[in-house]
Structure formats: structure tokens, C-alpha cells
């Protein structure tokens, strides 16, 4: 049993509070830390078979033939399925989340290394894997498109010849802002700084890889799919549309999920293969990809090559930002973003600054690389946008020779300007940027750091101080603007208070470890006065939760969190009417406090929510027009996104001899509006910062000239360890969202968005004596050394 002494410093005893927001240990943690979590791979069903996928060894090739005879004769193999078999079933291709199509199993060509070519179903996982080696595929290898800059060259091989009339590798064009107005500002600007900035391809690499167990029961036509899904409801609808199975006969269950970060938003061919396998064999079929499959075939993130330009006056007033982006989308456009936003929310590249004009132009292309372009804790491309603007502002500071924080403060959107409409059409809901920036400076001891840096530079030591300030756009989104494959991004929520006053809240979003079972219980507790421990949170089962679009883009608290608060208020309103009957006063004469209603002016006459619940289900009359029971359901349609923000300061030391970067300290001030559980927020921030340091310093999915993925294991794709990161120093300000029922904004991705530019800015600052203005991630020792030699190289 946890005692108060075991709890972290600053813990507010929830029993005293007594309910609602505040520090509280996570309800799900006893299960996780004792190894009692139940993940997809823990599911064992009677007669269950195992599926393994044969993947393409090359990046681009025509399939000449697939011989499965030897594999079929393996004694433990039950089925071998190829692309040709799926053509017969009409299942060889499936839609992506961006309305492109993707091959479930390759039929004509393979288009990236690791693409699905065939699958084997066998009695055990070992036999399935062994049998893959018995499948003989003859490939006619084609020249691959690997260098994104050459994808649109006239002589580039056409990757997507499956699309009617496709004669090039163009994927889409997109633009935002006013080009003419922006050009006009640039033409007259005193200072223009241009920089080529690459955000390399990275991978979410969740601890648990993707997988599923598909169980099709032919007698009643029921498909149950246990799956690693961040969006079970969206997946169910898409399966219904693709497979033709009626939606009410499909049950998607996401059990515990071992990390998602966007990797588990898309529907992967493996899931469809498992469903087909269960249909074919009549048995439950499990598919769990291995680490290499996860890294080489599932959704990557980023891969933007950006030319950024910033225009300013000589005294440091930023006037406009302009950018031209080349986006690598891999072989199929699998971007998970609202349909009207093919570049996600990249339009917030104007950052936290009050500009006169802004314009962005993007060209997206196909290459022979894994498809996707999902979130990776990126809030729909906000990560790339923030990185671009925060690097550009630093480049401007470098050219103007001014302090990068002073420059930022001078150009911040001021508190009285909110709600603030940006030049690219986003309406920032609320903000107080300077307060957060100044708090970060104070916590980090910014002025002393600069003094110390000056002293160290005299001694030839390389110390860098990096700053970033970000504004995110999270909580997609308003139905009028946003949908994924036609599905609106509103979230349902259902609350049932049981007769004894305990409750169950059913949410549509899906935890991947973020602590939803605690946070959502606290949201409801705050509104209805039942202790969080007495509120069960149910998620991940489409048969047992209302419809909603799932968890990604930091949307759980902004959307489902709002739904949870509102459904609790709806129940409380009903409880108030029942209470008025119990106390024999009018509704207007009741006051709500800490889980009970009392008669105004007479606190002794009161009924608790538990009393009311028993009454609601009990015998005797209820007030006229009131049905029995104490439950409600709603669907929340957000009127706007929420715009959390933060100020980060990173300090690094660079070894002048080896070019190794050591992150010495990191200060993160976050403002996510109302804070529901500060401990969970800090955990989210710590994780995101670690992630950000890793992207800045070591993570990258790389390819060789033949299109071979060079980052197909965790020996090659470097994930950070505790030794790479400092003790995090966190702080916060609170600027509630004006339109969210409890003022909360979402924080899941803030640190991942905000930290990479802080780290890069710090390294570049350390290299100032070498005249370095920009260097691209990942800043491995070798790449830092290149920059010190005067030739920083783009990573791609």
C-alpha cells in the first residue's frame, strides 16, 4: 500500500481535497510495474495460429513470380497467401488515412524494402517464420528513387504506376498564407535570412511493436480484433468499409498498448492479413511484428526538407516568414492528418510571433521508402513547423547579433492580442508567452549562464545555450473543418453512476501509457464529487465505448477530456433535480460542494452524490419528468483547437577535441492551461524531452543508395538512455483555454515538439566561435565535427 511518505514531493493528498484535479499516483501503474499489463501478445486463444510476413528485400522491383509450393508443404503450415490470392478477394489494396491506396500484399511491384509480399499461417511462430524462407520470389529489380530531391526528375522511375495515368512521383502540392503579401514584405525588408533546414526521417519505435489477434467466428459472422490501435473506433469503421463485413459484427479491442507515439494510428497490411488469415483458416490468428519489421515498414515521421526565410527590420522586428518544403512521403501517402490538411498543422510555422505576412509552399513526393508520415508525438506536423521557425529565429539572432531570447520577447504575440488570428488562418485561443519565457530564464539562471559561457569561450571551451519557444495546435478538431476519411473528429463519452455511488466512465480515446485511467477519473471526479479511486475508466473496446477518433495529436484531454467533463456535468444536473426532490426544495435553492448538494443557507440539509445515486435507482418517486438511473452520454465537438505553449532552455557542452555533445541541463516551462494531474504532466514532459534530445542528437532512419534501410535494428536506430539526458527542470504557467470546459489544452507532445530546436540551438550556439549558424540533426559527434570544420552537411 502506498503511504503518503512514498509519494513524490509536493503531493497533495486527494483524500483531503477530496476529489478531482491534483497530484495523484496513476491508477494503472500497479498493473504495469508488476508486469500485469495485458498486451496484444499476451492474448492466447484456443487453436490460435501464427502469422508471419514475407517482406521485400529490395526497394523497387517488379514481381516476376512467387512460388509457395515448398512453404505449403511445411508440416506445420496451414496457409500461404500471396498478393494474387488477395486480388481474388478484392483485398490486395486498402485505403490509407490520406485517401491514397496501399498494397496489403504486393501484386505488381514492391515499392520499398520491407514491403509485404506474402504471408504464412502456421501452428507456431517459429514454423511460420521458418516457412517464409521456403517461399521463392523472383524479382526484376528496378532503379529506386531514394534521393527525394531527384524524385521529380524527368528520368526518375515512376513508383506509383498502379495509379491511373501516373507518369511521375508527384504526391501533392499544398500552400498556405498570402504569397503576394509575403513577397511584398520580403522585398522591402531590411534583413532577410535564408537557411536550408532538414528534419530527417525518424521513427516512433514504441517499446511494443504492432500486432493483432484476429478471430473470425463464421457461425455468427463476428470478427473480434485485438489490436495495437490508438484509434479503435476509426479502425472498426475502416475495416467495415474495406472488408464489407457489417460494422456491428466487428469488435475492435485495443488492450494495454506499450507506447504509440502515432505509430499505432494507421491500419497496417499486417492487420488486414491477420483478418484474412482468420477468414481463410477459421481459426484465431496472431500477428506480432518483430523489431526490424516495425522499424522498416511502419509509419515513420518527419522527412521534411525545408528552405526557410525570415524577414525583419534591422532592429529586430520580425515581419514575415516564408518557406518552401519538399516532403518525402515514401511509397504510399499514409499521412495521418485531417483530410483538408495534407501537411497536417504545418501552417502554424508562424510560431509564437506577431507577423505581417507568412507563406508556405509544399511539394510532396513518392520515394521507394516505407510509407507513412504519421505523428510521432508531433501534433500533426507541428513539430516540423516549430523546428523551422525556432531555427530561423535563431539564425536571425545570429545575423543581427542579438540575444535570441530578447529577439523572441520583442516579437511575441502579446496577451491582449488573444484570440489571435495568424496569417495562415489559425486562431490561437490564449497565451501569455513572455511570462513563460521569463520564468524559464529565471529557473535556468539565464544571465549567469551567459556570463559563464563568455568565460568558458575565453578558455576555448564550448558551451552552448539553446532556447526555443513553441506554440502547438492540438485537439483536432472541429467537425466543420476536420475529418479523417470522412469521420468527424468529435468524441463521445458516457458516464454511469452506479447505485452505490461508484461510477464508470467510457471514453472513445485510447491510452498508450499516458495515464488516461487516472486523468479521466480525475476530470469526472472534479465535476461530480466521486473520488477518482471510485471511478473506473473504460477505453479501447468498440463494443463498450462510444464512438470517437482516438488518441493522437494530443487530442485526448482537449476533446475526450472536454467530453468527460461535460458528461459529468450533465449527470450532475440530473442529480441536482433528484436532490431537489429529496430535500424538498427547488433546484435553484441548492448549492453544490465537494460531492453533495445542500440547501442554500443551511449546509446541514444535504444529500451526497452517493445518496442521490441510490435514490436514482431505488424505490419511490422521482421528481416529475425524471427517469430512473444516473447516467448520461454526450458527443463533444470542439469549437477550436487548443494552443499550449512553452519556453525551453537547453545547456550543452561540446568537447572541442571529439565534438561530442553533452546535455548539461534542460529547463522546460510548459503552459497546457488547466493542469489536471501535475505528476502525469511532468511524466509526459520528461518523456518528450528525452525523445527530443534523441532526435536532435542521434535518431534517424537512413537509407543507402539502393534504398536499403540502414536503421533496421535498435543497434542502428539509436534510442536514448538515461545517460544521455540531464535531470529535467520543469516549471509551468497556467493560461486556461477559453473554450475548453475545464480550460485544459493537452500536453502529450509539447516536449517532443519544443525540445529538438532547443537542443540544436544550444549546439549551434556552442559552435559560434567556429562561425556556425546552422547544422542539421542528428548532431552525432561526426556531424558536429563536420560543422566545426566549416562544412555542416545535410543528413539526406
Amino acid at each position: 500500500m502506498t503511504t503518503l511518505d512514498d509519494r513524490p514531493l509536493g503531493f497533495i493528498n486527494n483524500d483531503e481535497k477530496p476529489v478531482g484535479h491534483g497530484r495523484m499516483l496513476r491508477k494503472e501503474d500497479p498493473r504495469f510495474i508488476r508486469g500485469k499489463g495485458k498486451y496484444v501478445d499476451d492474448i492466447q486463444l484456443p487453436g490460435m495460429l501464427h502469422l508471419a510476413i514475407l517482406r521485400s528485400p529490395v526497394a523497387h522491383a517488379r514481381i516476376v513470380s512467387v512460388d509457395t509450393m515448398a512453404a505449403m508443404s511445411h508440416p506445420k503450415v496451414k496457409a500461404v497467401v500471396t498478393g494474387a490470392d488477395l486480388v481474388e478477394k478484392g483485398l490486395a489494396w486498402m485505403p490509407t488515412l490520406s485517401n491514397d491506396v496501399q498494397a496489403v500484399l504486393a501484386t505488381d511491384k514492391v515499392r520499398f524494402q520491407g514491403q509485404e509480399v506474402a504471408f504464412v499461417v502456421a501452428e507456431d511462430r517459429y514454423s511460420a517464420r521458418d516457412a517464409l524462407e521456403l517461399i521463392d520470389v523472383e524479382y526484376d529489380v528496378l532503379p529506386p528513387v531514394v534521393d527525394v530531391r531527384k524524385a521529380l526528375a524527368a528520368d526518375a522511375p515512376v513508383i506509383r504506376d498502379d495509379l491511373d495515368g501516373k507518369t511521375d512521383n508527384h504526391c501533392f502540392d499544398w500552400q498556405t498564407g498570402d504569397e503576394a503579401a509575403t513577397n511584398a514584405v520580403f522585398d522591402k525588408a531590411e534583413v532577410v535570412v535564408t537557411e536550408d533546414i532538414v528534419y530527417p526521417r525518424v521513427h516512433p519505435a514504441p517499446l511494443e511493436t504492432c500486432g493483432c489477434v484476429a478471430d473470425y467466428e463464421s457461425v455468427d459472422g463476428q470478427l473480434t480484433l485485438w489490436t495495437t490501435s490508438q484509434a479503435p473506433h476509426a479502425h472498426r469503421t475502416i475495416y467495415a468499409l474495406v472488408s464489407g463485413l457489417p460494422e456491428h459484427k466487428i469488435r475492435v479491442i485495443a488492450p494495454d498498448i506499450g507506447g504509440g507515439f502515432g505509430n499505432k494510428v494507421p491500419i497496417y497490411p499486417g492487420y488486414v492479413c491477420a483478418i484474412v488469415a482468420s477468414l481463410v483458416t477459421g481459426k484465431p490468428v496472431k500477428w506480432m511484428e518483430d523489431r526490424s519489421e516495425n522499424l522498416t515498414s511502419t509509419s515513420f515521421a518527419r522527412d521534411y526538407i525545408m528552405r526557410g526565410e525570415i524577414a525583419a527590420t534591422r532592429d529586430g522586428k520580425i515581419l514575415a516568414i516564408r518557406t518552401n518544403v519538399l516532403a518525402d512521403h515514401g511509397a504510399f501517402n499514409g499521412v495521418a492528418a485531417p483530410l483538408k490538411y495534407p501537411a497536417g498543422f504545418f501552417g502554424v510555422f508562424t510560431g509564437s510571433y506577431d507577423l505581417e505576412a507568412a507563406f508556405a509552399k509544399m511539394t510532396a513526393v513518392y520515394t521507394n521508402k516505407a510509407p507513412g508520415g504519421v505523428a510521432y508525438a508531433c501534433s500533426f506536423r507541428v513539430t516540423e513547423a516549430v523546428y523551422l521557425v525556432e531555427r530561423l529565429v535563431n539564425c536571425l539572432a545570429y545575423e543581427l547579433d542579438v540575444d535570441p531570447i530578447e529577439l523572441r520577447i520583442k516579437n511575441f504575440i502579446r496577451p491582449e492580442q488573444f484570440p489571435y488570428a495568424t496569417k495562415t488562418g489559425w486562431v490561437y485561443d490564449s497565451g501569455n508567452y513572455e511570462a513563460a519565457m521569463r520564468l524559464a530564464m529565471e529557473l535556468a539562471g539565464y544571465d549567469e549562464l551567459r556570463t559563464q559561457q563568455a568565460e568558458k569561450r575565453l578558455k576555448g571551451e564550448l558551451m552552448g545555450i539553446g532556447v526555443s519557444f513553441f506554440t502547438e495546435a492540438v485537439g483536432a478538431g472541429p467537425r466543420k473543418d476536420m475529418d479523417i476519411l470522412g469521420l468527424g473528429m468529435a468524441d463521445g463519452c458516457e458516464l454511469r453512476v452506479h447505485p452505490t455511488g461508484k461510477a464508470v466512465v467510457r471514453v472513445s480515446c485510447m491510452s498508450q501509457g499516458q495515464g488516461h485511467e487516472t486523468t479521466f477519473a480525475q476530470i469526472v471526479a472534479e465535476e461530480i464529487g466521486i473520488a477518482p479511486a471510485d471511478i473506473q475508466v473504460v477505453n479501447g473496446d468498440t463494443d463498450n465505448t462510444p464512438f470517437g477518433l482516438g488518441t493522437y495529436g494530443s487530442r485526448s484531454t482537449p476533446v475526450s477530456g472536454a467530453a468527460a467533463a461535460l458528461v459529468a456535468r450533465k449527470v450532475r444536473d440530473k442529480a441536482q433535480i433528484i436532490a431537489s426532490g429529496m430535500l424538498e426544495v427547488s433546484v435553484a435553492d441548492l448549492e453544490w460542494q465537494k460531492g453533495s448538494f445542500h440547501v442554500k443557507g443551511d449546509p446541514s440539509k444535504s444529500v451526497t452524490i452517493q445518496d442521490i445515486a441510490m435514490k436514482a435507482y431505488g424505490a419511490g418517486d422521482l421528481p416529475e419528468g425524471i427517469e430512473g438511473g444516473l447516467e448520461a452520454q454526450i458527443c463533444y465537438n470542439p469549437e477550436n483547437l487548443t494552443y499550449p505553449f512553452g519556453a525551453y532552455i537547453c545547456v550543452v557542452d561540446v568537447d572541442p577535441g571529439t565534438a561530442q555533445v553533452k546535455v548539461r541541463s534542460f529547463t522546460a516551462v510548459d503552459d497546457c492551461g488547466t493542469r489536471i494531474n501535475p505528476m502525469i504532466i511532468e511524466g509526459q514532459v520528461h518523456g518528450g524531452l528525452t525523445d527530443g534530445v534523441a532526435m536532435a542528437l542521434m535518431e534517424m532512419i537512413a537509407f543507402d543508395e539502393a534504398g536499403n534501410c540502414l536503421s533496421s535494428s535498435l543497434m542502428d536506430y539509436l534510442l536514448p538512455t538515461a545517460l544521455e539526458v540531464p535531470d529535467w527542470q520543469t516549471g509551468h504557467t497556467v493560461t486556461p483555454s477559453p473554450h475548453h470546459p475545464i480550460g485544459a489544452k493537452g500536453v502529450g507532445e509539447s516536449a517532443t515538439v519544443g525540445s529538438p530546436p532547443a537542443v540544436v540551438n544550444a549546439v549551434v550556439d556552442a559552435l559560434k566561435p567556429y562561425g556556425v549558424r546552422h547544422a542539421d540533426m542528428p548532431l552525432t559527434p561526426s556531424r558536429v565535427w563536420d560543422a566545426m570544420q566549416g562544412h555542416p552537411r545535410p543528413p539526406v
Binding site: 506480432m288 571529439t658 565534438a659 542521434m698 545517460l723 561526426s782 563536420d786
Partner: protein, 292 residues
């Protein structure tokens, strides 16, 4: 989960038993010690073998650090953790503890062995550089008896050693000479990663002059390499920054790094130079008692 292809498994109960199995099974078999290199290769199906001979029970027989006359003998099954924690070893050759501190992580160090590390013959392997630096020799046993080879003879190329299919490495012998010390420097992209470049240095003093010096580099060629030219340049001289710079320059010139994900060849050449200077500087300071 990655799963290996089918294989037969046998657990050796003695060195003789293991060699008997190797005699019988030949190149269809492989020895497994700590398994941290072999198992991932099997799971990735880069290595497919018929028989796996587990020699972990030989730790009693081959897990030791012994001070013998004029040398230290280390059994091939001595685990990284034991090397890290061995005070006699650290006292004679501080380079071992330097290196072990930056080899992989505690989980790997609890299982991985000296013999397994050397036999893997990865060009970036740290203990290979340490043994090269210390002029160690390798005792290889077969059914006909023992033979002893130098580190230079031991390595025949990347992932290739002088050990025949029916033999096994059983011991490393390192000569102990008075008046010396040693150090190890490594640059890695992340804690526990393979070296971008690493460098061992060992140095012996006679009065104010260097009587002998050896430098061993990893990750800058097909195998870990000693640099005899550095030994020649340092012998008979008084240690100085200029001398270390000269040694560093020789190291930079006498290696053959390649461009890869860990870094550019130019950078690695620079590191060979930089780390050589650092390792020599530290080794000399240790002789003078100025640093641990």
C-alpha cells in the same frame, strides 16, 4: 519477437567435452558464451547453424584473473563484470576498467565474456583493442593441445580469427612489466553503442624516458590494430605534448577508417589522432600518480 531457425543444443560440461563436440560437429556448430552477439545474429537469421554448444558451465573452469610470474592470465569465460570489478587487473592495467566502463550496459556485462568478445572479432570491439594495446597472447586449445598466438596473428579479418573449427580460445595472457600504465579512450554516439573510434595506450617509463609504448585502435580498420610506428617514435623520448601530438598524427595516418552511420572517415581519422593523444597523456599521468 525475432525467432531463430531450428538448431540442436548441447551444454558442454568441461573444456575437453566442448572440444570433443567441436571435433565431431565441425563447422556446423558454434560455441555460445554470453550470447549477446551470436543470439541477435541467429534471430536475424544472419547466422544459421545446426548445433549450438553452450559453454556457460565452463565458467568455473575458465572464469578467472590470475597473477602468474611476469604475466596476468585471464580465462576466456571471465565475464565483463568480473573484468570491470577485478582490482588486481585494474592495478596492473587500468585500461581494462576504463574500457569495461564503456562497454555496452550492465545487463550485457553480466553475461558477455572476454573470450566471446575477442572471438566475435568485430572491428569495433573494445577488448580486442585493449588486448592489442597490452600485447596479449591468446591460448587456443584443440584436441592436439594448446597453441599460443599473438593478437596480430589471432585476427585474420573482420569477424575472422585464427581459431579452427575444432578449437576454442581458453585464455588470454598479458605480460606485466614494471614502470608502466595504460588508459582507454572511446567515442560513442550513445552510451553502450559500439565505438566510433576507440584507442588504448600503454606506456612504460625508465626514469624520465619512455622505455616502451603501445597504442591499439578499434573501429578504424578491418581489425583492431596496433601502431608500431608510434612505439618507435616514443621510445627513448621524454613524454611531452609535442610527442603526444606526433603520436596522434601517426595514428591518424596509419589507420583505414570508412564512412558509415557512426561517422565519416575523416572524422574517424581525426579521432584516432585525438584519442591517441588523450590516452597517452592519461597513461603517463597515471604513472606519475597524477590521475586514476
Amino acid at each position: 519477437m525475432q525467432v531463430p531457425a531450428p538448431f540442436e543444443y548441447e551444454r558442454a560440461t568441461s573444456v575437453d567435452h566442448a572440444i570433443g563436440l567441436l571435433e565431431r560437429l565441425g563447422n556446423t556448430s558454434r560455441l555460445i558464451a554470453g550470447g549477446h552477439s551470436l543470439l541477435p545474429m541467429m534471430k536475424l537469421r544472419l547466422v544459421n547453424l545446426e548445433y549450438l554448444i553452450d559453454i556457460n558451465d565452463l565458467h568455473d573452469e575458465l572464469g578467472y584473473v590470475r597473477l602468474a610470474r611476469g604475466e596476468i592470465r585471464v580465462g576466456a569465460m571471465t565475464r565483463h563484470r568480473e573484468l570491470l570489478e577485478s582490482d588486481p587487473l585494474a592495478e596492473a592495467f587500468p585500461i581494462f576498467r576504463d574500457a569495461e566502463r564503456v562497454i555496452a550496459d550492465p545487463v550485457v556485462r553480466n553475461r558477455g565474456t572476454l573470450g566471446g568478445s575477442l572471438c566475435q572479432a568485430d572491428p569495433s570491439e573494445d577488448l580486442s583493442a585493449v588486448c592489442t594495446t597490452l600485447d596479449a597472447s591468446c591460448v587456443i586449445r584443440g584436441s592436439a593441445g594448446d597453441r599460443v598466438v599473438t593478437m596480430a596473428e589471432f585476427y585474420r579479418g573482420p569477424y575472422e580469427t585464427a581459431i579452427e573449427d575444432n578449437e576454442m580460445l581458453i585464455e588470454i595472457r598479458i605480460p606485466v612489466r614494471a614502470g608502466g600504465s595504460s588508459a582507454y579512450e572511446k567515442v560513442e554516439r550513445r552510451a553502450g553503442d559500439w565505438a566510433v573510434v576507440s584507442c588504448g595506450a600503454a606506456l612504460w617509463m625508465d626514469g624520465d624516458l619512455i622505455s616502451d609504448a603501445r597504442v591499439g585502435l578499434a573501429a578504424v580498420g578491418p581489425n583492431t590494430t596496433g601502431i608500431p610506428a608510434i612505439s618507435d617514435a616514443l621510445r627513448g623520448k621524454a613524454p611531452s605534448e609535442e610527442l603526444f601530438e606526433q603520436a596522434g598524427a601517426i595514428a591518424g595516418e596509419n589507420c583505414s577508417p570508412q564512412n558509415d552511420m557512426r561517422g565519416s572517415a575523416d572524422y574517424k581519422r581525426h579521432l584516432a589522432n585525438e584519442l591517441t593523444r588523450r590516452a597517452l597523456r592519461r597513461a603517463v599521468a597515471r604513472i606519475g600518480g597524477q590521475a586514476r
